[in-house]
Symmetry: C2
Subunit: 306 residues, 2 copies
């Protein structure tokens, strides 16, 4: 498995693999989504099933006219109906990946989370995975959860780590280095997530997550900077060399993500995990690049046939 | 009041003011503390009362020999005793600022927090203020709490905001723009701190914090990036232009601080607030510059006589 260290490399690997995943897009009615569709068609990284609502057919028709072999259009009447239809296409095996266009996230997630007709398996945990490419870090940095789960329970932490390390492996990180983030190295019942971290490390030692290195609690700098670890006298395969940062709560995850996209020159790709197929839910403030990389990530990690 | 926009300007303003604050240093036994003392003496920004323990007299004696007019040495037997003695010097008005050397933080804080003989007034709230200078932000960014209070209560939020806006004003920010950080703009009882934020904004509107702009909940990027605010249709005097970020919990604050010192090229200065005199508690992983700027900040914001 090729080790993917950058988004450029990710796109190239996707092109080389030559399997164009079929992406069901819910309401591709905005300029950003159109950009992602066009660029994916041009770069040969995906095909599209565009599911439109009645009020916004025109962009989809235009996209199909420009690339009839890469685009199919499905007409529905409302955004909610478009979401249900797109999910049904994924469930039927006609699409591999689900992507959000101009529809509010709650409406899309209602269709995804529907118990009978959705994409979350029984007992599944929906989570958010952010992948960051930083100018001063030698590899991609995986982060959860910066957007979906407010305060992970132990069961949720387990599901999140399991899903994330699977994605790491799909990107060639055979033995992911997982840092359990806190503000210090102390385990304390004042901070219940640090007690969960102890359990997660036991799980890891017993092989629950396959081959991984896992360490923590540790702060985000110690996780990514060997020098900080040395100053603190810390040494482990994770310290200074993390692949995956697991955050204790959504505010901490979100702040990390926002700080680095704004001040750290980070490029990002994000997807939802826990579902039976990758789901891409671009955020309004994401750049066009970020939305394109998100779709490339989802297509690349989709299991089967490739 | 001069508006301070960078640490270089802070040091210059301190030099121009010509009042050398008297800094009581607890156990100045390590190379980093010695560096800060020497640089402060050379640049004329402070004088020192070095409180040594019996095992480590030598560095203090050397520093006094090199600068007899800027250094006094106080001998005690143990680090704990040194902490108590240094706090007593501040209480007696013989020192203006307290600084930690090579003593563990818990021992220092025990002396600072002592009910009868410490530096925290009755009902006072000890908090941590981080000031960050970022290559891509046009002014200093103030952040609390990244290191001391795990989950601020409403009363603690009030105290923290009050202390921080005072420091902002000492640095010439007449009407600080305060962003109450969350992962979104939604107020929800699922996130109790967002309810506190509503109360804080009411407080602000009633003048509790003097002249301030206060807004939130908002995410860290919206607070510091006008474009992100525009994309979301948000507009306020705070959006994209925050002076002070108030974090909902210590993990979020700590992650922001660590992310930007590691990946954002941030220089930093930190101090404790809520005490009767500024207290500087450098962290092991701080750079020498950061420790020097921290002391300069504490000296500059110390009230009275300057």
């Amino acid at each position: 498995m090729e080790l993917i260290r950058s988004f450029t490399q990710l796109v190239q690997a996707l092109q080389r693999r030559g399997v164009r995943r079929r992406v069901a897009v819910v309401c591709p009615n905005d300029a950003h989504t159109e950009y992602v569709v066009q660029r994916s068609l041009r770069e040969g990284t995906a095909r599209f099933l565009l599911v439109t609502d009645a009020a916004h057919r025109e962009p989809s028709v235009r996209l199909r006219a420009a690339a009839p072999d890469g685009v199919q259009v499905y007409e529905t009447s409302t955004p909610e109906e478009a979401a249900v239809r797109a999910v049904a296409l994924v469930r039927a095996g006609e699409a591999d990946v689900l992507m959000k266009g101009l529809i509010n996230t709650d409406s899309l997630l209602r269709a995804v989370l529907n118990k009978e007709e959705g994409l979350l398996p029984p007992g599944g945990v929906l989570s958010h995975l952010a992948v960051m490419q930083l100018p001063v870090y030698p590899k991609l940095l995986f982060c959860s959860d910066v957007a979906v789960i407010p305060r992970p329970t132990l069961a949720q932490f387990r599901a999140v780590v399991g899903a994330d390390v699977s994605v790491c492996r799909r990107l060639g990180v055979g033995c992911p280095r997982v840092a359990l983030v806190h503000c210090s190295e102390k385990v304390s019942d004042k901070f219940p997530h640090t007690l969960d971290y102890v359990r997660l490390k036991e799980d890891a030692a017993q092989g629950r997550f396959g081959e991984v290195y896992m360490d923590g609690p540790m702060d985000a700098k110690t996780a990514c900077d060997a020098h900080s670890g040395e100053v603190k006298g810390l040494c482990s395969p994770v310290v200074g060399n993390a692949d995956l940062l697991v955050f204790p709560n959504i505010e901490a995850g979100n702040v990390f993500y926002k700080a680095l996209t704004l001040f750290g020159g980070a490029d990002t790709a994000c997807m939802l995990t826990g579902t039976t197929a990758p789901v891409v839910v671009p955020s309004r403030a994401d750049s066009g690049d970020s939305k394109y990389y998100s779709l490339a990530l989802a297509c690349y990690v989709k299991e089967g046939g490739g």
